[in-house]
Amino acid sequence: MADTLAATLTVTPTEEGLELTLTVENVGDDAVDCSFADGQRAEFVAVDADGAEAWRWSDDRGFAMALGNETLAPGETVAYDAVWASPPAGEYEVTGSLAATDAAASATMTVVVPGGR
């Protein structure tokens, strides 16, 4: 099932910091049902050049505690946003992943935050 989901990650610098968007597309021929344990639909994590976790989007957030379900029809996409406010200068591997309990999709990209912001 997970094979039919394709994820892309885009990172856009804004005044606040970095805006991250995880886009998940159902590239298969059948609808994909995604179940969630709570209001968290996606996770975003940044790992620094030393391999240490520098930031995790969910660390300073709370979520609605209802089970959820989203169905992606063939060809349908869904996008989840996060903001990494004031990231320290450095090079990071940033990963966005779907937080579903029964489907997987993730995308990673290298992000360089310039110094002297």
């Binding site: 344990a37 709570d38 209001g39 957030r61 709370g62 209802a66």
Partner: protein
């Protein structure tokens, strides 16, 4: 269901409900929040243009002077006031028309409290959540004020309107009114305040949530219902909870949906300032998704809970989120009766019904609204 001639929508819906009460549930919307399908009759092309301009989707254009559109329900009132619009009527397919008593209301003997005259009138219950639909027929009578720490995204009348579904669902469980339609809450006349701290997707920063808790305390409200959580805590949120409890607020929070698991109660529920609520199913078992741990104070219905969602609709959700407002509604009932927050908290747990589950699963036991209020009931 025409919204004209001084009739409120509630009146019209009530009348319709009475007329078809024998058919019971007429069917539910597959609703996207806040959007409803309406027929608009117009008397001039300008009315037709206005309707189409408001429409998310034009479903049908009749050969006579009417169109069927899908539109945000907040646009309906404005349209119906136009002189070039003859009527705006809801397509009759998305409302539950006879009042149902959700199983959790019955199981907690909240309906016994209602029968004894307890309504929660005078209590202020804040729903810290995704907002509350400002125009739900089952909630409108009980809505107090609203405040958004994260604003609703989309076309809404208020920035604290519910752009998810979750907050409206929780509000209905805590305090949907007792009328002839829809559902009934644990309290039926407590004032429900929307404190929007979660966004359209159902998440919110701890800073916004903490600000919401602080706001509830500063307003002097009785109960803060938090159907939200996270596996890790926040010092600012903990501070906010202490601030609120110091000011006499009773905070209720969802234990979390990490189950099956042990010692996994989320935050803020795990803070001693909060009444931590785990979730039960209608057969009195622990909900499979419910987090458990020594911090659990009480268990309440959370599997397959039927309640209000935006657009005048109803839906069934599961989660410790759904258990939490049962307890918040009962807390409102107690504080309406004059109990302080700490007295109310003690009564809730002292009168809970032992389900025979482990104490880290059920805490003191199942919420018993009637017993907490001092009514004896042999009902289960």
């Amino acid at each position: 269901m025409v919204y004209r001639d001084g009739k409120t929508r509630r009146d019209v819906l009530k009348a319709t409900g009475a007329a078809v009460a024998t058919t019971g549930l007429a069917g539910m919307a597959s609703a996207s929040p806040g959007t409803v399908e309406v027929n608009v009759g117009y008397s001039a092309d300008s009315g037709k243009r206005a309707a189409k301009a408001e429409a998310d989707e034009v479903v049908r254009e009749f050969n006579f002077d009417a169109v069927t559109i899908r539109v945000n329900e907040n646009a309906i009132e404005g349209l119906s006031r136009r002189p070039d619009v003859r009527y705006v009527e809801k397509n009759g397919r998305m409302h539950a028309l006879a009042q149902r008593t959700p199983w959790g209301i019955d199981r907690t003997d909240s309906e016994v409290a209602h029968a004894n005259g307890s309504t929660g009138a005078g209590a202020d219950v804040a729903i810290l959540d995704t907002g509350i639909d400002s125009d739900h027929p089952d909630l409108r009578a009980n809505l107090g004020s609203g405040r958004a720490f994260v604003k609703a995204r989309g076309k809404y009348q208020y920035d604290w309107d519910d752009d998810n579904d979750h907050g409206t669902h929780c509000a209905g469980t805590a305090g949907a009114d007792d009328d002839t339609q829809g559902v009934v809450g644990v309290s039926t006349e407590a004032t429900l305040h929307a404190v929007k701290v979660l966004d359209k997707r159902g998440s919110g920063s701890f800073s916004d949530i903490a600000a919401g808790v602080e706001y509830v305390a500063d307003r002097g409200w009785d109960v803060g219902s938090m159907s939200l959580g996270a596996s890790a805590g926040s010092a600012a949120l903990r501070d906010a909870c202490q601030y609120a409890v110091d000011r006499g607020v009773l905070l209720v929070a969802a234990a979390g949906n990490s189950g099956p698991c042990t010692d996994c109660v989320g935050y803020p529920a795990a803070y001693p300032e909060c009444v931590a609520v785990s979730s039960s199913a209608s057969d009195d078992s622990l909900s499979s998704f419910s987090s458990t741990g020594p911090e659990v104070d009480i268990i309440a219905p959370g599997t397959d809970v039927y309640s209000t969602v935006p657009g005048g609709s109803y839906a069934t959700f599961s989660g410790t989120s759904m258990a939490t407002p049962h307890v918040a509604g009962a807390a409102g009932q107690l504080m309406a009766d004059g109990y302080t927050a700490s007295e109310a908290r003690s009564r809730l747990t002292n009168t809970a019904e032992d389900l025979g589950l482990a104490s880290n699963e059920q805490g003191a036991g199942l919420l018993d609204t009637a017993a907490a209020l001092g009514y004896t009931s042999t009902d289960d």
